[in-house]
């Protein structure tokens, strides 16, 4: 309660690493609806002063990436106008795409950006026809026109995706450049992969600032590399030490001990086949439920933190499962929709 009114009621929207990629917008809508954060009939924010955190990986999820970025952007504005907040974070897939690493993009994802490129270029052309308006910056400049080894029919789409998402690109700058990499809300620390002690020593604010500068194009106009702490297995958006297999509880405890007031680290990145769960006495909360068959069965789950962190609960759309694990406890599910875990 000491955290102030907006911090007492936090709902955390889990990320989705989905095999049903083409339904990702629908999944996001269901997760947000499930949590009572949007009205599904209007797609407008209905969460009032709730603080919601989406822990990254909006990209590489099929052919609705730009639509989803728009939706989240609008909801961010609406949440802020309602006294709440929707915080969208940087995940490893955002880092990959800003880097030009499109290994995980699907055909429909390329197609959507190809269409974007078509309309963006028409927009540029129209602007050149406005008397007195200097030629606008063309984000396609500097992007290769051909891609050796790649089938020609995909060159245009790859070029458009690169123009849109490169540092200082129209899409990356507008929708990703202000997203944080690490967020603290109340007594919860949110990060896509995980934090190590060296990251905390480096500085959480500093990491957020440096990622934002990189995506915004930096001082050199976009030629710079990403900060080292978002690269590699120990990178903050890649780390699995607290979310995969046996959690390194001692290390986690030490990391949280360095962050005043932090009781838990909430992470995505590693699909949790059992659904949202906690480890290390719920100091590690793993919320990536995935969407593929057998990996959450395509059902949305949302972690909800109430009363300043004294109550943590999972809201699930799964009405069929009666037992599931959260933390190291097996909990009987009675109502089907909400499972309460008073701490």
């Amino acid at each position: 309660m000491a955290d102030g009114p907006t911090m007492d009621f936090c709902k955390i929207v889990p990320p989705s690493l989905s095999a049903f990629v083409d339904t990702f917008v629908d999944f996001t809508v269901s997760a947000l609806s499930l949590a009572g954060l949007i009205d599904p009939s209007t797609l407008r924010w209905s969460g009032g002063p709730t603080v919601a955190v989406q822990v990254g990986d909006v990209l590489d999820r099929g052919g609705d990436e730009i639509r989803l970025l728009y939706l989240l952007h609008r909801l961010r504005l609406e949440a802020a106008a309602s006294g709440g907040a929707l915080i969208t974070m940087i995940g490893n897939h955002e880092v990959m795409n800003v880097h030009g690493d499109f290994d995980c993009a699907g055909p429909s994802g390329l197609e959507e950006f190809k269409n974007w490129g078509f309309w963006y270029q028409i927009g540029l052309s129209m602007k050149t026809k406005c008397e007195g308006l200097q030629n606008p910056k063309d984000p396609f400049n500097g992007v290769p026109k051909s891609f050796p080894g790649v089938r020609k029919e995909f060159h245009e789409a790859l070029r458009a995706r690169a123009a849109a998402l490169r540092p200082d690109g129209p899409i990356s700058k507008r929708f990703l450049s202000q997203n944080p990499t690490v967020v603290i809300v109340g007594d919860s620390v949110f990060v896509h992969g995980g934090l190590l002690q060296d990251h905390v020593k480096y500085g959480l604010d500093r990491m957020n600032r440096e990622v934002r500068e990189w995506i915004s194009g930096g001082s050199d106009g976009g030629g710079g590399r990403s900060p080292g702490f978002v690269r590699g297995r120990e990178g903050v958006v890649w780390l699995r030490r607290f979310s995969d297999g046996v959690c390194d509880c001692a290390n986690l405890e030490a990391v949280l001990g360095m962050i005043p007031g932090a009781k838990r680290m909430v992470m995505g990145h590693t699909i949790q086949r059992a659904g949202i769960n906690g480890a290390c006495e719920d100091r590690a909360v793993r919320i990536d439920v995935g969407l593929s068959k057998g990996c959450g069965d395509g059902l949305a789950e949302v972690l909800e933190i109430l009363d300043g962190g004294s109550v943590v609960q999972v809201i699930s759309s799964d009405r069929a499962v009666h037992r599931r694990r959260y933390s190291d406890r097996t909990v009987e599910r009675e109502e089907g929709l909400k499972v309460l875990f008073p701490h």
């Binding site: 030009g100 963006y120 028409i122 899409i171």
Partner: protein
């Protein structure tokens, strides 16, 4: 507003063109232009309809008013100027969609020379391209020849 709701975010449906990045500070932006056009028609004593109509007459957008999609552009432009929706222009889905349809049917309505006119920037393009590499998805690659 009478728009049919669908799962498509309204913002997506209303945008005639993709989002433009904030323009560098040293360049006049599209917002500047709209402000200029609006100022052209500014007269507090006139109705919003009359002011929007007058803004449309600004010489700064003369080229956009003409051509095969000039009418659609004009309708969308005036609608945007007159819009009092919280998200300005969000009640102009239909005229913007009509503009899009027209451009699709007439690809050269507005685009002609800009993309072909990159010649002066080629040197910069080459330089920047060296710093930016793209990794394509495996499914988009040509099959390796079997020897």
């Amino acid at each position: 507003m009478g728009q049919t709701q669908s799962s498509v975010p309204e913002e997506d449906r209303m945008d005639p063109t993709p989002p433009a990045a904030p323009s560098p500070q040293d360049l006049p932006s599209m917002e500047d232009l709209i402000a200029e056009a609006t100022a052209y028609g500014e007269d507090e004593n006139e109705s919003i309809d009359a002011r929007a109509q007058k803004a449309l007459e600004c010489p700064c957008i003369a080229e956009l008013r003409n051509g095969p999609c000039g009418n659609q552009f004009s309708e969308a432009f005036v609608c945007f100027l007159k819009s009092t929706a919280e998200e300005k222009g969000s009640d102009c889905v239909n005229p913007f969609v009509a503009l899009q349809m027209c451009i699709k049917a007439n690809p050269n309505a507005f685009s002609k020379d800009i993309l072909e006119g990159e010649g002066s920037g080629e040197e910069e393009e080459e330089r920047e391209a060296k710093d930016y590499t793209i990794s394509a998805p495996s499914w988009s690659r040509k099959p390796k020849s079997k020897l």
